[in-house]
């Protein structure tokens, strides 16, 4: 169990690193696009699409680590007042529901991606197949579901308090 926990954490972290890299790419692309356009009158081809696609991927690449670190925005006003065993049970159950929900939505997104691939939808400038992007998101969401499963197991085993911070990760926004 400890092994699975560590390995999965490493995987989630690695995925989030990809999201971080995409965020850096997005910033550099937008920044240089503006500079090139206004000072040299030469916008970067496809900058719009790089931003658009990175944006979608950033969310899903960062999702598993965010879930595993329990940074989802939660309301703890009542939850904080539950006795510890009730809290544990509630967390286990809600984590399992969330895991199921992630899996279900991932499946539907995969099918949507397949439809996009069949109709050969590609972006205008960079000719990226939209279906492939959708299916990558779907796989990452499935990994997010696994993160919820691990959270549920940890809550069940009592090695995780559940959402303890009163305001999630709000202090960072």
């Amino acid at each position: 169990m400890v092994m699975i926990d560590r390995l999965s954490w490493a995987l989630f972290f690695a995925l989030a690193c990809v999201a971080g890299a995409l965020a850096a790419i997005m910033m550099v692309t937008t920044f240089s696009d503006v500079v090139m356009r206004y000072f040299f009158n030469r916008p970067i081809a496809g900058a719009f699409e790089v931003t658009e696609i990175s944006m979608g991927l950033i969310v899903f690449f960062a999702l598993p680590l965010m879930i595993r670190e329990r940074e989802n925005i939660v309301v703890t006003i009542l939850y904080d007042r539950f006795p510890a065993p009730v809290r544990r049970a509630a967390t286990t159950v809600t984590d399992l529901i969330c895991a199921g929900l992630c899996g279900f939505i991932a499946w539907r997104m995969w099918l949507y991606g397949e439809r996009l691939l069949r109709s050969n939808e590609i972006t205008l400038e960079l000719r990226v197949p939209k279906g492939a992007v959708a299916q990558s998101m779907s796989v990452l969401l499935l990994v997010g579901g696994v993160a919820f499963l691990i959270c549920a197991l940890r809550a069940f085993a009592g090695s995780d308090e559940g959402p303890v911070r009163p305001i999630g990760n709000q202090e960072k926004i």
Partner: protein, 435 residues
């Protein structure tokens, strides 16, 4: 009509129930929205929507404003800007009675100009300003309240994460929303300063004056904050003149903040990496709430709630102003147990069509909603910013903070009444910019 009310009632009850069990708000909204659409409109509608929504809503050029402004805020904070900003305001205002509390408010306003969140602003400035005010013998109640209130400026003064998400959810122009936030933001700073000065007048002992600073010191502090002020002027000026789209402004902001941090030598590659990680995790947690809210509001719209609400208003014969006050009341109640972002995203899809039908301007309503949320952030017993301050300053009781916050709550109410009476406060600048 009855079906709409029933669906809405059960829907909200479901979301609140799951939320209270500690389920992430985003997933509570996703689950209830999806189940509701499935039950009321059949499998096909639900299945089609849930596959597309997460893909199409996140692959959005406009949304990239959020991570880039979040990154900008993180980079600037890491560069130690809050410290310098506070010292600058201190050196200009500190010698007045209540001056340090005023400096706190102004510094919060300045920090808001690079940061899009109230809680981040309160937490960051609290760490800097509280020790200073205590050193000069300020009453804890005034000191803590000025930080909590000043922090709420974070979501009003551009850039603002909430205004971006409001713009996306309602199809309102984000640039206009940002520009519309400027005048109400400045008004807020002035009213908070007035609140401080009233307190200092009533009990002089709670807010003693600090020694006057010389011009040499003032200019030195101004020099270190200067580049960030220029960056802000560049971003907002560019938006105002229509040179930048909000996304470009955010890209310039983040890129500029990176250059600033490098110039200050306050950024190692490692620190840059962890800033990026913080950015993407925050972004993921925000956007998953956005997806949840979109699915849930889809359900409410399909069920016909906005229409039902509009006809209810007609039947009751409510005037537009009464509708606005009713919404104000609902937000104050919701603010007791929800944080600002989920509150706005959960309610806007329902209120927005109703409000527009009543003849209000979309930009005006965005500013109104944000201001009301701000008020709910500092209203006892559960204003979130009050607890943030309690978290930052360990040895202060929540009761002390409650005692100090009242003048600031009054200032907020005055500001909301002014905004309702004079919509031009929010609308004049965007209209001028559009010319």
């Amino acid at each position: 009509m009855a079906a709409a009310w029933e669906a809405a009632g059960l829907g909200f009850l479901g979301v609140f129930g799951l939320m209270m069990l500690g389920m992430p708000i985003a997933f509570a909204m996703l689950l209830v929205g999806l189940a509701g659409i499935w039950l009321m409109f059949g499998e096909r509608t639900a299945m089609g929507m849930i596959g597309q929504m997460p893909v199409n809503s996140t692959m959005s050029y406009e949304l990239s404003v959020v991570p880039m402004f979040v990154l900008m805020g993180i980079l600037v904070s890491r560069a130690g800007m809050s410290q310098d900003l506070y010292r600058l305001c201190h050196s200009f205002l500190g010698h007045r009675r209540g001056g340090l509390a005023m400096a706190t408010v102004v510094a919060c306003g300045g920090f808001s100009a690079v940061c899009g969140s109230s809680i981040a602003t309160a937490a960051t400035m609290g760490k800097v300003a509280m020790p200073e005010m205590r050193r000069y013998g300020y009453a804890d109640s005034l000191a803590a309240a000025s930080v909590a209130a000043g922090g709420t400026l974070g979501i009003l003064i551009p850039p603002s994460v909430i205004l971006v998400l409001y713009g996306i959810a309602t199809g309102t122009d984000i640039g206009s929303l940002f520009i519309a936030g400027i005048v109400p933001g400045i008004l807020a700073v002035l009213l908070y300063m007035a609140a401080v000065s009233v307190v200092a007048h009533i009990s002089p002992a709670s807010a003693p004056a600090a020694p006057r600073s010389g011009w040499g010191e003032r200019l030195r502090h101004a020099g270190s904050v200067g580049p960030i002020v220029l960056l802000f002027i560049l971003i907002i000026g560019g938006l105002y003149l229509g040179v930048f789209t909000p996304t470009e402004a955010a890209g310039v902001g983040a890129g500029g903040a990176l250059l600033f941090a490098l110039w200050r030598r306050s950024l190692s590659p490692r620190a840059f990496g962890s800033s990026l990680m913080e950015t993407v995790r925050t972004t993921a947690s925000l956007f998953i709430v956005l997806i949840g809210a979109l699915v849930f509001s889809n359900f409410m719209n399909l069920a016909g709630l906005p229409g039902a609400l509009s006809s209810l208003i007609g039947e009751l014969g409510l005037s537009p102003i009464m509708v606005i006050f009713a919404i104000l009341a609902i937000y104050l109640i919701l603010g007791c147990f929800m944080e600002s972002l989920s509150m706005i995203l959960l309610t806007i899809p329902i209120f927005f069509p109703v409000i527009i039908a009543q003849g209000f301007h979309p930009v005006w309503f965005g500013i109104f909603a944000v201001m009301v949320t701000e008020l709910s952030l500092i209203t006892p017993p559960v204003g979130l910013n009050l607890f943030v301050i309690k978290g930052v300053i360990k040895d202060i009781s929540i009761g002390t903070i409650y005692r100090g916050i009242l003048p600031f709550v009054v200032a907020d109410i005055v500001r909301i009444v002014l905004l309702i009476a004079f919509p031009a406060l929010a609308l004049y600048l965007p209209e001028l910019a559009a010319r």
